[in-house]
């Protein structure tokens, strides 16, 4: 079942070219739906258990996968947003076969990242998710995509290769027989060596997270991607840095994590505030959302780096659900572009002509800036609560971000959707048929888990407790 869940999308992405052109959207939708169903079924049976076989026995590389609570939550969110993206892409992009195939290919990469319990396997999926992202940008991007592409690839691979060397070093110095996580945990590396290996690992995760000096690829990546926002949805799902830190760094480099905790928390808090500051001056919705996402990820980083149970639960919760509302906001920006032909935040007056689109966008923005009752609040509040116990001042600085978020989010919303529609502007039509589902489903999820976060927290909590228990509890 677990292999079905991981590999069904990539299988569909290859088969899609055998399907007649007119059935491709339905085929991709069915595959994504089936994957989501598989994820929900796994949830109902309480996760998918550990499975491990040797992959390259001579090197100690194994194929080890598992879907525990955290993996499952992120996996289901990925499957859900993939389905939404596919529905939108099928509607919006002419002749979408290639795009649908890339989306499905990327889904497998992401699910594999969440499922992998072997470091080399993790690396393979980590890089696999890169290829479709690059192709989406190359095929569907805008005029300056080549620069964005090179920047994105160079940053990502720079980090990944340092991580690869850390992975090799981790097994070699620890003397573990395989790269499987359980074996590596049983053969820890300690002392200065651990610090150096952690820095290599951190390089990859900080790029993906992204943390302050490593973030420069992100705005260009989103700004140069296709207007529809479909590629961006997959881009937001792609923020696997925090997950990697939680899954591997916390248990493999606990001492180094603690040693660097003040610096990393400071960087994360700074990233959150700095990104919010920059977002305030953006006039392009894509760039604005990119910086907003960066700001959220600063929050998530703060939660993970604080090594505090509450904050870590909050970080994983936020990581999962941030994908939903930020992804939906990217799609909403795409819908706006479709209607008025521009991604500018100074369009004005959309509310009078497209009330439903505006209202739904506003709801999503409320989720994004952490209004209570919506899902964004639960995560941000837990992170601040936990981080406060570790470092009150940094929690305070990060807390300022929520105010800044309201400022940039609502200002941009106001200048786009309220005010007066300029004379002679095209008539912006309102939501039609599937548009309702594309924005409505994420909103429904945001409200449901915002009010009743128990089921999702129940997925995350036990795993975080187990993970933290190994660290002696005195943190």
């Amino acid at each position: 079942m677990i292999h079905f869940f991981i590999f069904l999308p990539v299988l569909a992405s290859l088969l899609i070219f055998l399907v007649p052109v007119r059935w491709r959207e339905e085929f991709a939708g069915a595959a994504a739906g089936l994957t989501l169903a598989g994820g929900l079924w796994s949830w109902s049976v309480g996760g998918l258990s550990y499975y491990s076989v040797p992959w390259i026995p001579a090197l100690g590389v194994t194929y080890s996968v598992q879907m525990d609570g955290v993996s499952l939550l992120l996996g289901i969110v990925t499957a859900f947003m993939t389905l939404i993206a596919i529905i939108y892409a099928g509607k919006r992009i002419p002749n979408p076969g290639t795009m649908l195939s890339l989306i499905l290919m990327m889904e497998t990469g992401l699910l594999g990242i969440y499922a992998a319990r072997d470091l080399v396997l993790f690396y393979v999926f980590f890089e696999d998710a890169l290829i479709p992202a690059l192709l989406m940008l190359a095929i569907y991007g805008k005029a300056n995509r080549m620069a964005a592409l090179v920047k994105f690839a160079a940053y990502t691979l720079f980090g990944s290769l340092l991580m690869l060397i850390s992975i090799i070093g981790l097994k070699y110095y620890g003397g573990s027989p395989t790269f499987a996580l359980v074996d590596l945990q049983a053969h820890p590396v300690t002392g200065t060596l651990q610090t150096w290996l952690f820095l290599g690992f951190l390089a990859a995760m900080a790029v993906k997270l992204p943390l302050f000096p490593m973030h420069a690829w992100l705005p260009d990546f989103h700004a140069q991607n296709h207007d529809s926002g479909v590629a961006d949805v997959m881009g937001t799902l792609y923020k696997v840095g925090a997950y990697g830190l939680f899954r591997f760094a916390v248990v493999l480099f606990p001492d180094a994590m603690l040693e660097f905790r003040p610096i990393l928390m400071g960087l994360a808090a700074f990233t959150a505030l700095y990104a919010a500051w920059i977002a305030f001056s953006q006039t392009d919705w894509k760039r604005l959302l990119a910086y907003a996402g960066l700001s959220h990820m600063g929050f998530v980083g703060l939660g993970i780096f604080s090594m505090n149970e509450t904050a870590m639960i909050g970080a994983l919760f936020l990581l999962a659900f941030q994908n939903i509302y930020t992804g939906a906001l990217f799609l909403a920006a795409g819908m706006l572009q479709e209607r008025v032909g521009s991604l500018s935040t100074k369009v004005g007056g959309i509310m009078t002509q497209a009330g439903a689109l505006s209202g739904m966008t506003m709801t999503l923005w409320f989720a994004s800036i952490g209004v209570p009752g919506l899902v964004g609040f639960v995560g941000e509040f837990s992170i601040l609560l936990g981080a406060y116990q570790v470092s009150p001042w940094l929690a305070f600085i990060a807390g300022l971000t929520t105010i800044a978020a309201a400022a940039y989010g609502l200002t941009a919303f106001q200048t786009t959707y309220w005010q007066v529609r300029p004379a002679g502007a095209v008539l912006a039509h309102d939501l039609k048929d599937l548009d309702w589902l594309i924005l409505g489903a994420p909103i429904a999820v945001s409200i449901f888990f915002g009010v009743y976060s128990g089921p999702a927290l129940a997925l995350v909590q036990p795993v975080v407790r187990t993970w933290m228990a190994g660290l002696g509890g005195g943190l």
Binding site: L137, M146, L162, I168
Partner: protein
């Protein structure tokens, strides 16, 4: 010794029958010869036979590298089927010389002493010089001339090195040299060290380690594409086989060469990768990428043969598949032998989707992106060097890979960008070349997902302890 004899017979047959049969028939005969030679190698697996008093040894190392050589040669011949006529190479002498070169490369792989190795190297090089200049054009002549002059200097250095090693140890035999250097009880250590370094320089010319790489870009871009394919895969594999025998086996305990080797590897990785960043012609880019890959391959040579040997063999196999695949696509689509400029590749995906995807797969593999086999090759080389204690060197190699990703990415992504200008490629169907491309693409994909298929065969450390012979 059957595999070598079969290719030699094939070469002689191609020479003689060339007077009576058309060229395509000769090519078919040559391919059959190569396949037969491969079959005979498979039957010798685990046999551990030697002949001529250990001068030739058919251990598993020789056989696995021999099979890689045959694979590369087979792909060359497949590509030459279509493109030889346009490259003005369509005479039987091409196949004959190719097979002579293959015979030489196999001699290197199977060699048990320095003299056999040198004979193989010279047979390979001389045939190589002729193949490079066979096309009647100024560019090919210039390229071949450079190759010849620098190659001759390399050979001379190598021979001088061999003479000094003989002077220091009193034997040509790998086992003898190994025994003589085991406790370093040689009459004259400095003579031995100088000999080893001269050998390293000589090999450096052959595999294109910087700063001995200067001929590569001119040769690969000046010579016909199919020749570039052959020289950058088969010849390089053979030269690495020689280095593996000499430095991994016979002279492993000799001091100083490893230190110099490190410097050469750093220079190669830096120069190769930076050089490739600024190329506008795809063939020159591939030439610099070949230099860069030499640096990565050589990492495995520094390591302990038990881990470095299998890593090197696997990497060589993958390197052959992906480089030959990329050159084959180039050979199929280019209009002239000058290859593509990078701008010509814009929008290739919309004109030749299958070729474009195949080329993208080869480039992704060359860049080391999983799930393609290039990743595993690079990973194995890094791991081998890391475990041998060369951490700094591994870090430099990793940084080099970042540059590599950028220059492979540019052509790969340009192919997928929309473009409205008319096609600049050769439009026709080229079935045998396509077969070579398919072989390369399927090879890198399957070996990337299931690396154990190839790696498992050579992973046994025991076969690498006898590199120098019994």
């Amino acid at each position: 010794m059957l595999p070598i004899l079969i290719t030699l017979l094939g070469a002689i047959a191609a020479t003689l029958l060339g007077f009576f049969l058309p060229r395509r028939a000769i090519t078919v005969i040559s391919m059959v010869t190569l396949v037969l030679s491969g079959v005979s190698m498979v039957t010798l697996w685990n046999g551990g036979l030697t002949s001529f008093d250990g001068s030739l040894q058919a251990d598993n190392v020789a056989l696995s590298i021999g099979l890689i050589i045959l694979l590369g040669s087979l792909m060359t011949l497949l590509v030459s089927f279509d493109t030889a006529a346009r490259a003005k190479l369509a005479f039987p002498e091409f196949d004959a010389l190719l097979l002579y070169a293959v015979t030489g490369t196999l001699l290197i792989a199977f060699s048990g002493d320095l003299v056999t190795m040198l004979i193989g190297l010279e047979v390979m090089s001389l045939s190589g010089y002729v193949i490079a200049t066979l096309q009647n054009s100024r560019r090919a002549e210039e390229a071949g001339m450079k190759y010849f002059l620098l190659g001759a200097v390399g050979s001379a250095t190598l021979i001088y090195g061999i003479a000094l090693v003989y002077g220091a140890t009193g034997t040509f035999n790998y086992v003898g040299i190994r025994d003589a250097t085991a406790g370093l009880q040689v009459q004259n250590v400095s003579l031995l060290v100088v000999g080893a370094l001269l050998l390293l320089c000589g090999f450096g010319f052959k595999v294109a380690l910087a700063p001995f790489h200067q001929w590569t870009p001119d040769l690969y871009s000046g010579a016909p594409t199919v020749v570039g394919l052959f020289l950058s895969t088969v010849v390089k594999v053979a030269a690495f086989a020689g280095m593996l025998r000499v430095f991994g086996g016979a002279m492993q305990n000799v001091p100083a060469w490893a230190g110099v080797m490190q410097i050469l590897i750093i220079a190669t990785i830096v120069i190769g990768n930076l050089g490739a960043l600024f190329q506008t012609n795809f063939k020159r880019l591939m030439a610099y990428s070949a230099v860069a890959h030499t640096g990565f391959l050589a990492l495995a040579l520094l390591a302990n043969p038990a881990t470095g040997g299998p890593a090197l063999t696997y990497y060589l196999l993958v390197y052959t598949l992906m480089t030959a695949g990329a050159f084959a696509v180039l050979a199929a689509l280019q209009r002239t032998e000058e290859g593509f400029s990078l701008d010509d590749m814009r929008g290739l995906f919309y004109r030749h989707p299958a070729y474009a995807v195949a080329l993208a797969v080869c480039l992704a593999s060359l860049a080391g992106l999983p799930p393609f086999a290039g990743f595993m090759g690079k990973y194995l080389a890094f791991q081998a060097a890391f475990q041998a204690g060369y951490v700094g060197l591994t870090l430099i190699a990793a940084m080099g890979s970042v540059a590599a990703l950028i220059y492979y990415l540019r052509p790969a992504m340009l192919m997928f960008m929309h473009d409205r200008t008319p096609a600049r490629e050769y439009p026709g169907e080229r079935t045998p070349t396509t077969a070579a491309v398919v072989l390369g693409v399927v090879g890198v994909t399957v070996l990337g997902v299931l690396p154990n298929l190839a790696y498992g065969l050579v992973a046994n450390p025991a076969i690498w302890t006898v590199l120098a012979g019994r």
